[in-house]
């Protein structure tokens, strides 16, 4: 795996505000890397520094084993970039815009046209729209054109800033599938605040909060490590007494009521310290309280759970040892 992107103590200040603080990242390719954070976390500032639109206040960065400062043209030739809100010359058609981008990369007209048509199709833009002025296009269509222009030069590293933010649910699925397929060949660095999207396509993720890197890890191991196992329990009868008893059990970290799935039933969601111990003790406790067990299922933590758990300032991130994974 080659090192596609590396930052070392990357920092950017706007006056007194530190938008990005001492960011250390190393992204290996190929694959899809998720760059996650709430709005204002510093994702776009980081990306704008990566592509050379902003200068870092301090720190270093390398793209594709090159310094973008000293080898700017060389790096940009191998780079694809989609900004958060891609904007185009409104008087141009989508096809013309891609031909212009091809021209900037020095592609021959014929090759540029062939590549433009291939990408317009691949990005889900229908043929009748290709020659219409971009001014009349929807936000989703512009986003797709933005992705197409980022791929015009067959880049080795693609940096996408919120690539699906303007798309409807079906459009999102299309584009995420495209991102996933690109990730098999090249490195895709994708920022988003939509956790489900990142979870769907990214094997590795970094989470940024207030400009600081909270975590950088494989998505699967992060989900295992950063969130306590959860059990959803549904019983026939009332859980009030059971909840009181479980609250003092050493293997229970937190419990909360669960919306009853059917009449006459009630439920609890338990965050547990030891899944195996809980799976043994829970049925026993249900029987002891004279309740009928309807279901008991371990819930898989989502990246959203991880994100909330990490961002929540009151909850410290449990270490691997703590979780016992």
């Amino acid at each position: 795996m080659s090192l596609a992107l590396e930052t070392c103590a990357l920092t950017r200040c706007f006056g007194e505000v530190q938008a990005v603080e001492q960011l250390d990242l190393a992204v290996h390719g190929p694959g899809v890397f998720g760059f996650l954070g709430a709005n204002g976390a510093g994702k776009t500032t980081t990306i704008r520094m990566l592509v050379g639109l902003l200068r870092p206040t301090s720190g270093e960065l390398r793209l594709l084993d090159q310094s973008p400062e000293t080898n700017a043209l060389l790096v940009r030739r191998r780079l694809g970039y989609l900004p958060q809100d891609p904007a185009f010359h409104p008087w141009m058609s989508g096809e013309e815009y891609l031909l212009h981008i091809g021209d900037l990369f020095g592609l021959a007209r014929k090759e540029a046209r062939r590549r433009a048509h291939e990408l317009l199709e691949r990005c889900g833009l229908e043929k009748p729209a290709w020659r219409r002025r971009v001014a009349g296009w929807s936000g989703g269509m512009k986003q797709r054109l933005g992705i197409a222009q980022a791929l015009m030069n067959r880049p080795e590293l693609i940096i996408l800033d919120e690539p699906v933010s303007a798309l409807d649910p079906l459009g999102r699925i299309d584009v995420l599938e495209l991102v996933e397929s690109l990730g098999r060949e090249v490195t895709v660095f994708m920022s988003s605040h939509i956790l489900a999207d990142i979870e769907r396509v990214c094997e590795e993720v970094a989470i940024l909060d207030h400009g600081k890197l909270l975590v950088h890890e494989k998505t699967a191991s992060l989900k295992r490590r950063a969130v306590r196992p959860t059990i959803e329990l549904v019983v026939r009868g009332d859980t009030v007494a059971l909840a009181k008893a479980l609250a003092t059990a050493p293997w229970v970290e937190r419990l909360e009521p669960l919306e009853a799935p059917a009449e006459g039933t009630s439920g609890l969601r338990l965050k547990v310290r030891e899944l195996a111990e809980a799976q043994l003790a829970l049925p026993k406790a249900v029987v002891e309280h004279g309740l009928g067990l309807v279901s008991m299922s371990p819930a898989t933590p989502s990246l959203e759970d991880v994100f909330i758990s990490l961002i929540d300032r009151n909850s410290a991130v449990p270490t691997t040892e703590e979780v016992g994974a």
Binding site: P86, M92, L104, F105
Partner: protein, 256 residues
């Protein structure tokens, strides 16, 4: 200067698609063809007014127009074209920056210098075309209506007028680079135009400013002494280059 030709091709297409080329051509043609016509029609118009009840106004005697009046009218009308050049070009970069179009192009393997120079070269070429169109129209109509024109002197006058327009083009591009938006860029362009005009009216300084050069062209047409014309042209040329260099320096350091 990686990217200069692709940017030029895009600029040319933009000038056509956004009708800026049409506006430019019509304006220059109107100045060229209209000036001799206005000179020709002025005595008729004035005498028609004189026949009416002037309500106590004094009678104005207008001499018969000739080549001189036609060319002076041309100069007077041409003096409005710097404003058109400013208005057509002041948003060239500011608009692309504020709409976030420029960053998408400037992360490609191109230089910012090529981007700026294409923004200057294409309008400069079109302005040259406009000046030629305007001068040809004026030359043709003046010859038809009033008689032969000193072609060499007229050519020199137009070369100097073109240089003045280049200066205002550079000024508008400089404004477009340093301003964050189109409105502020227009403020820089028009404010700059006003300042240059004021400087051109200051004794001692007048001969060495683009506005002074513009006035000097009138002297050239009238056949008066034009000792400072060379200095005015040199200063205007240097100021044009200086503005473009300054714009390039600012743009190369600008965060987008």
């Amino acid at each position: 200067m990686t990217g200069f030709l692709p940017f030029c091709r895009k600029e040319l297409l933009e000038q056509i698609r956004t009708h800026r080329l049409l506006v430019l051509a019509v304006a220059f043609l109107l100045v060229g063809l209209g000036s001799p016509l206005i000179a020709k029609a002025t005595p008729d118009l004035v005498s028609r007014f004189a026949q009416d009840d002037l309500g106590g106004m004094e009678l104005v005697i207008v001499r018969d127009p000739g080549v001189r009046e036609a060319l002076l009218q041309y100069h007077k009308n041409f003096a409005m074209l710097p404003l058109l050049v400013i208005l057509l070009n002041v948003g060239a970069i500011a608009l692309e920056k504020s709409r976030r179009i420029a960053p998408m192009a400037l992360v490609k393997p191109v230089s910012r210098r090529a981007y700026l120079l294409a923004k200057a070269a294409v309008p400069a070429l079109l302005t040259l075309g406009g000046t030629l169109l305007s001068a040809s129209g004026c030359l043709l109509y003046t010859t038809v209506l009033f008689g032969e024109v000193d072609a060499a002197g007229f050519a020199l006058a137009n070369a100097l007028l073109f240089l003045v327009l280049l200066f205002y083009l550079a000024l508008s591009l400089f404004g477009s680079v340093i301003a964050p938006g189109v409105a502020s860029a227009a403020g820089v362009g028009i404010g700059g135009f006003a300042l240059v005009s004021i400087a051109g009216a200051l004794p001692g300084l007048d001969d060495y400013t683009p506005a002074g050069l513009l006035s000097g062209v009138a002297d050239l047409i009238l056949g008066r002494a034009t000792a400072h014309l060379g200095a005015g042209a040199l200063v205007t040329g240097l100021a044009t280059v200086a503005l473009l260099i300054a714009a390039q320096q600012v743009l190369s350091r600008q965060e987008l």
